[in-house]
Symmetry: D2
Subunit: 109 residues, 4 copies
């Protein structure tokens, strides 16, 4: 079994043991991702990138992934497929020639 | 090669072709996750969970995953490992007996 | 003195007593707003709008306002002016005739 | 009339003309704040604090304020009162003596 399937299976098992599927609608899962992304961000507040504590980054990033995988599962999306598709789309918005070495947004290139 | 490694490899290749590693410090990657989480959330604004358009969910969720994988790579974290560790930690905060069927936060159980 | 000026004055006094201006650059203040917005959002997670506890909403919303006022002050923006200007801009994007009674985004009207 | 009351009155008038009160429950207003906070944050992505464009900061910060004022109005909260109360609470968490000149969180002081 693949890594991602194993992760999702573990998340689902944890959820089902607690009978939490009833709360896990797509909208609240999206809230969960935003909330955890905020907690991750807090580790960098008033700091340089290097000053965040990796032990805490691990935990908050894991929480972001947990809700992201659960939301992917809710829609039965294949995570590898959607990320590779998005990379391909971004390749059109950010052609190497125009975007190399600049952090500008595609609508400013 | 495992699926997560393949995703990260594709993201890194995309980034390196554009010489973007210079911008990708951990703090800005954390900003990226929050920003994309906000765009995902917008798909549910003023709506029921079922009303979000799956085609757009796919794209915004892919963006969240992209920055989350890049941040994991920045710290050389193993995504499966950190998520499984977090599940195990959450098991202590949310014992089945106390948390079954309730959405209460651990400090309110 | 106006309400908003009094609020900002109190926030600045609190900050200066602690010698925190050195940390309060515009970017980190924007992070602060996002982080506090996430904490506010958490009060609604897995819940209906009515179930959030108002005592906590008060505190998290106050935190959002605090960083928002500090960021406005950083750029010497007049809060009333920028909000009224934005309302006027939104009036063009959302003409009453097209937007009445619908939650659609302007690019879908 | 006070400036905050004038802002809220203008926001309510804009909303009511479009018959949008039906969508503005507290939960979705909290989503709105998070989403707009993310758009504000995007203006600083991959940049130093000084590089964000003030014209855009104005607009995104105005959007954050707009939803924050609408949420305050939803609960009939007095914005000045809740911010001053929070400053007073924070004064206990961050006594000047311990917190002067350090960006540490209260639980690390």
């Amino acid at each position: 079994m693949k890594d991602i399937d194993e992760i999702i299976e573990a998340l689902i098992a944890f959820r089902n043991e607690r009978d939490w599927e009833q709360f896990h609608n797509a909208k609240d899962l999206a809230l969960g991702i935003s909330i955890e992304a905020g907690e991750l961000l807090e580790l960098y507040l008033w700091k340089n990138a290097e000053e965040a504590k990796i032990e805490k980054v691990k935990e908050e990033l894991a929480d972001v992934f947990a809700y992201a995988f659960l939301l992917a599962d809710k829609y039965k999306l294949d995570v590898k497929e959607i990320v590779l598709e998005k990379i391909s789309k971004n390749g059109e918005k950010y052609p190497v020639k125009k975007s190399k070495g600049t952090a500008k947004k595609y609508n400013e290139l």
